[in-house]
């Protein structure tokens, strides 16, 4: 950028990047690949324990609530229907309208 008049292509052609050689780069890449391939399920779970515990607690809690409330709703409906059946049999006012 010393001379603004110099064309950009010339600047790019003259631009050289010479990074210092990293002797451990290749070894580090292989090490990461090796670690990934050796990763087991327990290792995965340990690494993501907090997230999975949260997911499990939420899902199991929701399932327990749903199961419980579904059963209670069914019990309520059964009880309601039986109470009506019972009282229809007992109530002459209703019987008078049902009988011929």
């Amino acid at each position: 950028m010393d001379s603004p008049q110099e064309p950009l292509s010339q600047i790019l052609q003259s631009w050289n990047v010479n990074p210092p050689p990293d002797s451990g780069f290749r070894a580090a890449v292989w090490q990461r690949i090796g670690r990934r391939s050796r990763e087991s399920w327990p290792v995965y779970l340990r690494e993501h324990a907090a997230a999975w515990v949260l997911v499990a607690v939420l899902m199991i809690g929701a399932a327990a609530y749903t199961g419980n409330s579904t059963a209670r709703a069914r019990v309520r409906a059964d009880r309601e229907s039986l109470a009506v059946t019972y009282l229809v049999d007992l109530d002459p006012r209703v019987q008078a309208t049902l009988r011929p």
Binding site: W41, Y44, L45, H48, W52, V55, A56, M59, I60, A62, A63, A64, Y65, T66, G67, N68, T70, A71, R72, R74, V75, A77, D78, R79, E80, S81, L82, A83, V84, T85, Y86, L87, V88, D89, L90, D91, P92, R93, V94, Q95, A96, T97, L98, R99
Partner: protein
């Protein structure tokens, strides 16, 4: 990715199993069986935890009451027929009002008789169950539509 899917599968399976167990624990299979059969006496026996002696006493009370119920039913039908005949025959207003009054009186007698009967039934049950039984049936008796069979929600008002 495969560990994520496997873990998710296990969590889902555990949640489904938990939901099923909670459902079964909160279910009342005997009550459901009675509802499917429409067996009200079985409902009393299972839902209010009657022993054999209590159940026999309540059954006997019901058998005795059913005679009264038939008699009340017959009287209401007679009164209803009379009122219809009066209206159809163009009877005077006083006669129709008298028939209405008679119908109302009969319904009140019936309501009192049912309430007395259910209180006798409750007295045979253990105190807690008796209270629960009355809490279920008494409001329904009061809300029963006098002119039509009730629906399941008993939403009619007298």
């Amino acid at each position: 990715m495969k560990y994520l899917l496997a873990t998710l599968g296990i969590v889902l399976a555990a949640a489904a199993a938990t939901g099923f167990v909670c459902y079964r624990l909160s279910c009342e299979p005997a009550l459901h069986a009675a509802a499917k059969k429409g067996d009200a006496m079985e409902w009393l026996r299972t839902d209010f935890h009657l022993d054999d002696r209590q159940f026999a006493a309540i059954r006997e009370l019901h058998d005795r009451y059913s005679g009264d119920c038939d008699e009340h039913c017959r009287r209401i039908q007679e009164a209803s027929r009379l009122k219809k005949a009066l209206v159809a025959g163009g009877a005077d207003r006083a006669a129709v009002e008298e028939a209405d009054r008679r119908m109302k009186e009969l319904r009140e007698i019936c309501e009192t008789a049912i309430a007395r009967h259910v209180r006798q039934v409750a007295a045979i049950m253990s105190p807690g169950e008796g209270r629960r039984y009355l809490a279920i049936v008494l409001p329904k008796i009061a809300n029963f539509d006098h002119m039509a069979a009730p629906d399941l929600n008993l939403s009619h008002t007298p």
